[in-house]
């Protein structure tokens, strides 16, 4: 890692320092040491001509499921981080709903060791809030923090017990850990499998009302205000949740949120049009067109902080079941960047610096991890982007072990062109 690397002539987009223009980036000993036009690089530095490409701080996907340990047939830390690198991400934060659950430092250490061996992307483990995700006793936040966990979450299910949630928000303050909530009032979602609305009505499918998310978000925001804790709302899906979060932020509370590319680009009408294709089933479900449009406005006006994939691999056999029987979740590591470049930046919804903010600076800030910036002293993590390359989403070509995407066949303009982690150019096998 001692070899120096200089990236020459790219368009550097780094909202953390208000930079969008042609510049060079020098990385030495794994960290950025200079960023500017016409840099003097040491003689021995490796020179990479990146003219024609965009250079951004390494993208961070703050919500993925790597499935290891326990469900290696869906994904492994190696295949998942390969998918991350292929998708332009230099770091991912992985959810604890593995088998066993990551509620113990030994699991966090295992994940970090596996990630180091794979060497494709940084991996930030997220600890469970409660032991075994059972919603009864708190996991050891402090020990998990020491082992390397960056947040706590019971993602996949909510922390539904209000008293326990209150304690989690209070206790996490000792370690400055955000509590990432999968906000869902389970009694309201019941047996639902898609958004409750006109399309679930026509299909006779049990619906999940938007109120299932909103009721839990409202409760959580009250508890956040009450405790002064740090609350991060995972995979926001409704217009009302957005308004609740907006209000809490305006009230000065420590609230952040993320949204997935699929909730920004798809709605329940697409589920209908797919003929109930299991690759359109996820949690929270694809909501109404109005919800989708509100979320898009929310990333543009800053009410939503981050975009995360909620990469949730499932084996093709599991998605061969019918829609109602199939598991929730879609993969996203290898599609999120191109989707955002084409459908958000390309369509003028947000500009490129804002996208970099959503995918890099904001996740770094929320998780309290280094990165998200190319100012000297930052980690030497860089994502290279080719804005002109047109790609077709081809699940068969995914590096992930799973293929479950609702975007198969989409043609997108703009694609990742490589990643650099700690000054090391990531080569994919």
């Amino acid at each position: 890692m001692s070899a120096a690397l200089v990236l020459r002539g790219g368009r550097v987009v780094d909202p953390s320092q208000g930079l969008d223009g042609t510049a060079d980036v020098l990385i030495e000993d794994g960290a950025v040491t200079a960023c500017g036009a016409g840099l003097e690089a040491p003689e021995e530095a490796r020179r990479m001509d990146v003219s024609g490409l965009v250079v951004t701080p390494g993208l961070i996907d703050m919500h993925v499921h790597l499935r290891e340990p326990g469900q290696e047939y869906k994904e492994t830390i190696e295949s998942g981080t390969c998918a991350a690198a292929a998708g332009g991400f230099t770091a991912v934060a992985c959810m604890p709903n593995t088998e066993p659950v990551n509620d113990d430092p030994s699991i966090t250490e295992f994940i970090l060791a596996r990630a180091a061996r794979a060497g494709r992307a940084r991996v930030y483990p997220i600890s469970a809030v409660t032991r075994g995700l059972e919603g009864r006793e708190l996991a050891e936040f402090g020990a998990q923090r020491r082992a390397g966990a960056v947040a706590v979450s019971d993602d996949g299910r909510p922390v539904w017990n209000a008293a326990l949630m209150r304690q989690a928000l209070r206790y996490a303050r000792h370690f400055d850990l955000p509590v990432i909530q999968h906000a869902e009032e389970l009694e309201l979602s019941g047996d639902g499998v898609m958004h409750e609305g006109a399309f679930s009505t026509r299909l006779g499918v049990e619906g999940i009302p938007g109120a299932a998310d909103d009721a839990m978000v409202a409760r959580d925001l009250i508890l956040t205000a009450d405790t002064g804790g740090r609350y991060h709302l995972a995979h926001m899906s409704t217009a009302r949740s957005l308004e609740l979060v907006r209000g809490a932020k305006e009230g000065g509370h420590r609230v952040t949120s993320e949204v997935s590319a699929h909730h920004l680009l798809l709605c329940d009408g697409d589920v209908f049009d797919s003929g109930l294709d299991p690759d359109f089933r996820m949690h929270p479900p694809l909501r109404s067109a109005d919800d989708r449009d509100a979320l898009v406005a929310g990333i543009a006006d800053g009410a939503i902080d981050a975009i995360a994939s909620d990469h949730a691999p499932h084996h093709p056999d599991e998605k061969e079941l019918d829609f109602v029987a199939a598991p929730n979740g879609v993969v996203g590591l290898e599609t999120t960047l191109s989707l955002c470049l084409d459908r958000l930046v390309g369509k003028g919804v947000i500009d490129l610096p804002r996208l970099v903010e959503l995918l890099s600076a904001a996740p770094a800030r929320i998780l309290g991890v280094p990165g998200g910036s190319l100012v000297p002293g930052s980690p030497g993590d860089v994502t290279l982007i080719d804005l002109d390359r047109e790609v077709e989403v081809d699940p068969a070509a995914f590096r992930s072990r799973s293929r479950n995407t609702p975007f198969a066949g989409w043609t997108l303009r703009g694609a990742p062109a490589g990643t650099i982690v700690g000054g090391r150019v990531i080569e994919l096998p």
Binding site: G197, G207, D322, F323
Partner: protein, 315 residues
């Protein structure tokens, strides 16, 4: 007999059918009604054809109706009732399909608790697929037999006022019926307790009423839906007594309907909950005719689909 040339190899839902196709099925069914009156109730139409009745969900009436229709057409039929077995829980559609294909059926009649499972099956098997009910989505042969029954009584469907009352949210009968009756030109009103109505009932394409009285005022046809008593546990209604009080069809309430209104029910009935016995057994009731017509309509469907799948064209 209509001039329509039948070309459909599967019957998955009313949503896919054109008005001409619906009329063609009803016309074809007319010719099968008299088979039930023969001393030997059998025609050789489907001799040598294999029909599999694949029921992933308990059903007595619909399955029996299909079975009788198949036997009267001289088809060889086999029943797979897999409710509660491993097949219904976790076997992939692909495996189910491959197992079926290996038995080389000509037609598969399928009922499943999940919407669009028949559609998925039809995409993957060569046999003709008949949807005998997929969750709360569609039940096309029920809608066709209901339309057939209405047409036999009223001489037409177009312009009639039809009220459908009950657990609309969870009824496949209502979805297929609204589609079918609207395509045939009827005015359809749906009603039920708010806790049993879907989130956006108007999406079904019918007029929405919020009381039984409003729904049946001036109606030519009243269709009462079965109340699933287990819904009571899910707080869809507080008690059977209260349901009957507000949404049960009684002779007194029936006064608001047209004088010659007919009463229908897809069965099985809960007497004293959604319908009073005096109505179910009264002169307005055509409930047993629905059952009889079900066989004729299903014979017509099987006959038409088999004709396409064996490449012989159709009547």
């Amino acid at each position: 007999m209509s001039e329509h040339k039948w070309q459909r190899g599967d019957l998955l839902g009313v949503a896919e059918l054109s008005t001409e196709e619906i009329v063609h099925v009803l016309d074809t069914a007319e010719s099968f009604v008299e088979v039930a009156a023969r001393p030997i109730k059998k025609v050789p139409t489907l001799r040598g054809k294999t029909v599999i009745n694949l029921f992933f969900e308990a059903s007595t009436r619909t399955r029996s109706s299909f079975e009788i229709a198949e036997k009267r057409l001289s088809a060889d039929n086999v029943n797979f009732s897999t409710s509660g077995s491993s097949l219904s829980k976790g076997e992939t559609l692909l495996d189910t399909t491959r197992n079926l294909e290996a038995m080389a059926p000509d037609l598969v009649v399928i009922r499943h608790a999940h919407p669009r499972v028949p559609h998925g099956l039809a995409e993957r098997v060569g046999a003709g697929v008949v949807n005998a009910g997929d969750g709360a989505h569609e039940h096309p042969t029920q809608a066709l037999l209901d339309a057939f029954t209405i047409r036999r009584h009223k001489g037409r469907v177009e312009g009639l006022r039809v009220a459908i009352v009950g657990d609309v949210a969870h009824s496949r009968v209502v979805r297929s019926n609204v589609l079918c009756l609207r395509k045939l030109g009827a005015e359809v009103t749906i009603a039920g307790p708010r806790t049993m109505m879907p989130e956006q009932p108007e999406a079904l394409g019918a007029r929405v009423a919020w009381s039984l009285e409003e729904a049946i005022a001036g109606a030519d046809v009243i269709m009462m839906l079965r109340v699933q008593l287990e819904r009571q546990a899910r707080a869809s209604f507080p008690s059977e007594r209260e349901y009957f009080e507000f949404f049960g069809l009684t002779a007194g309430r029936l006064q608001a309907a047209a004088d010659d209104a007919i009463i229908m029910h897809p069965g099985p009935m809960n007497r004293g909950i959604e319908i009073a016995s005096e109505v179910a057994d009264g002169p307005w009731s055509v409930i047993l005719e629905q059952v009889a017509n079900g066989v004729a309509v299903r014979m017509a469907v099987l006959y038409l689909l088999a004709g396409v799948k064996s490449g012989e064209g159709s009547a």
